[in-house]
C-alpha cells in the first residue's frame, strides 16, 4: 500500500507540465453548448425533403413490429412531418420524422417516430385512435359517393363534391362512431351545400345520405 501511495506521489510532476495557454473563457467558448431549448437548432423544424420522407417510410415498413402491416399492404400513410424533441431528451438534436399511418387490415392507427440519424423507429404507438384522413382517403371517399345510387338520386344538376371531412358519430347507433369514416359534402358552384354522404372507409360503402339542411 505504502509503495502505491509513493507511486501516486511520483506522478505529481505531471501537474507541472507546461501550462495550457487558453484562458478559462476560451475553454468555455470551445465547449459545446449545453442542451437547452434556447440553443435549439431551427433547421430541425424544416420541412422534410422527398428523400427524408422516403427514408422514414422505408425504415418504418422494415421494422419487424410492423411486418404484418407491410406484408398485407392495406395501409395508408396519413402524414409525415418533422418532429423536434426538447433537450434534455436523448433524441434532442436528431432529425426525427413523425409518421402516422392507418392500418386497415388491423383497423388501427400507427404513430411512429423515426430517427433518421440512427436509422431506427425510435418510438411506436399502436392505437384505436383515428388520425385525420389522407389525401388518398379523401379521393376514395369522393369516388365511392359519386357512384352510389342513393347519392346520385339526391344530386341536382351542377352539384359537385365540395370537400371531404373526417367524420365520427356521436353515439354507438351511428356506424361512424367506431369506424373510420368520411363525410363528402356536395354542393353548387356558388358554395351552397346540398347533400352530405357519409362513407365507411373500412367497407368502402355509403352509410348515410342526408340533405345538407337536415345535417
Amino acid at each position: 500500500m505504502a509503495s502505491s501511495k509513493k507511486a501516486v506521489k511520483a506522478a505529481k510532476p505531471v501537474k507541472s507540465k507546461p501550462k495550457v495557454t487558453t484562458s478559462p473563457k476560451a475553454r468555455a467558448a470551445a465547449r459545446p453548448l449545453p442542451p437547452d431549448v434556447v440553443n435549439a437548432d431551427p433547421t430541425l423544424f424544416d420541412p422534410l425533403t422527398p428523400g427524408e420522407i422516403a427514408d422514414a417510410l422505408r425504415t418504418l415498413t422494415e421494422d419487424r413490429r410492423l411486418g404484418s402491416m407491410a406484408k398485407v399492404g392495406r395501409y395508408r400513410v396519413i402524414c409525415t412531418e418533422p418532429l423536434v424533441v426538447k433537450p434534455p431528451h436523448w433524441m434532442a438534436g436528431h432529425r426525427l420524422v413523425r409518421v402516422v399511418v392507418y392500418d386497415y387490415a388491423a383497423d388501427r392507427a400507427v404513430d411512429a417516430c423515426v430517427d433518421l440519424d440512427a436509422g431506427v423507429v425510435a418510438h411506436l404507438d399502436l392505437s384505436r385512435g383515428q388520425p385525420m384522413l389522407s389525401r388518398d382517403e379523401e379521393a376514395i371517399a369522393v369516388s365511392i359517393a359519386m357512384v352510389d345510387e342513393r347519392v346520385r338520386d339526391k344530386l341536382a344538376l351542377g352539384d359537385a363534391p365540395q370537400s371531404t371531412l373526417h367524420y365520427w358519430g356521436r353515439t354507438p347507433a351511428d356506424l361512424a362512431y367506431a369506424r373510420r369514416s368520411a363525410a363528402v359534402v356536395f354542393g353548387r358552384a356558388d358554395g351552397h351545400a346540398t347533400v352530405i354522404a357519409v362513407v365507411d372507409l373500412l367497407e368502402n360503402i355509403v352509410t348515410q345520405v342526408v340533405p345538407a339542411e337536415l345535417w
Binding site: 412531418e81 383515428q130 388520425p131 371531404t164 358519430g169 359534402v185 358554395g191 351545400a193
Partner: protein
C-alpha cells in the same frame, strides 16, 4: 421567402404544416426565448338542428367533423406583412363551405395575437366552430414554469393538470390565465375574446405529444386535448397550454376568434 421574421423586437420562425395551419417556433422577444412552438392543430365543427321546439329537438344527431388546415386547404401564399407597431403572418384556407384566415400578429410591445377569422356559409346556419390552439411557451427555458388562473379576485396557482374554462372573471386588463417562469419572473398572460366562450387546458409537456393529427381518439374515449389531461403536477415543470374557442355561427360573421397573449417581465 425566408421563414424567419426578425422585426418589431421579435425573432420568429414559421412553417406551413400538413394539418395545423401555420406553425410558429423558436420565437424570441427582445432576444429572450418565449416559445418553443405554437400551432392551430384543428378546427372542429358540429351541427345543431334548426328547431325552436324543445319537444321536437332531437339534439345533436351527428357527430363533429373537421378538415386539416394546411397544405391541402391553403388558398394562395402565406403572407408576411408589416403593420404599424408590428408584423403579421397570415394565410387563407378553404374547405368547401368553410373558410378561414389564420393570423399570427406580433406587436413590438410584446403582444402576440394567434387569431382565426371564420367565414363561409357552412352546410346550414346551426353550427359551431371549435378552433384549438396549442402553445408551448418556454419563457427563459423550458422548465421552472407555473400556471395560474384569475379566480376569486386574485391570481391562483394551479398545481395539477386540468381544464379551466373562462368563468367570466378576469383581472383589470381582462386576463384570465397566465404562465410564469418562476426563476426570471417573466410571464405570458392570456386574455380571451369575450365572445369566444373560451377554455384552456393546462398540460404537462411530453415529447411527441404534438401532434395527434386528429382530435379523434378511440371510440368512446375523450377527444384531444382532454385525453391528454391527467393528474400530473404542473408547478415548476414544463407546461403546454391549449386554448379552445367555441363560436356559434349565429354571431355576426365573419368572426375572429383567438386570445390576446402578452409577454411581461422581459424589460424594455
Amino acid at each position: 421567402m425566408s421563414n424567419v421574421i426578425t422585426e418589431a423586437n421579435w425573432k420568429v420562425h414559421w412553417r406551413l404544416t400538413e394539418s395545423a395551419g401555420i406553425m410558429i417556433y423558436l420565437a424570441d422577444y427582445r432576444g429572450r426565448r418565449v416559445l418553443w412552438e405554437a400551432s392551430l392543430p384543428y378546427v372542429t365543427i358540429d351541427h345543431q338542428r334548426e328547431t325552436l321546439d324543445v319537444k321536437d329537438d332531437p339534439g345533436e344527431v351527428h357527430g363533429p367533423w373537421w378538415i386539416p388546415l394546411g397544405t391541402r386547404t391553403l388558398q394562395g401564399p402565406v403572407r408576411v406583412q408589416a403593420f404599424r407597431g408590428g408584423i403579421e403572418l397570415s394565410a387563407a384556407f378553404a374547405a368547401g363551405p368553410y373558410h378561414y384566415t389564420q393570423l399570427w400578429r406580433f406587436h413590438d410591445d410584446g403582444r402576440l395575437c394567434p387569431w382565426l377569422t371564420i367565414y363561409g356559409p357552412g352546410v346550414h346556419d346551426q353550427h359551431t366552430y371549435h378552433p384549438h390552439w396549442r402553445f408551448d411557451f418556454d419563457l427563459d427555458g423550458a422548465r421552472d414554469d407555473a400556471f395560474e388562473r384569475f379566480e376569486d379576485a386574485r391570481w391562483q396557482r394551479v398545481e395539477r393538470e386540468g381544464w379551466f374554462p373562462y368563468s367570466g372573471e378576469a383581472d383589470e386588463h381582462g386576463n384570465v390565465w397566465r404562465q410564469i417562469d418562476v426563476g426570471s419572473g417573466a410571464a405570458i398572460t392570456i386574455r380571451p375574446h369575450s365572445w369566444d366562450d373560451a377554455e384552456v387546458f393546462a398540460i404537462r409537456y411530453h415529447d411527441g405529444e404534438w401532434a395527434p393529427y386528429s382530435p379523434r381518439n378511440a371510440a368512446g374515449s375523450a377527444t384531444f386535448p382532454s385525453a391528454y389531461v391527467g393528474d400530473e403536477p404542473l408547478d415548476g415543470d414544463d407546461v403546454t397550454l391549449w386554448y379552445v374557442a367555441h363560436v356559434h355561427f349565429d354571431q355576426s360573421f365573419p368572426y375572429t376568434a383567438g386570445p390576446w397573449v402578452k409577454i411581461s417581465g422581459f424589460g424594455g
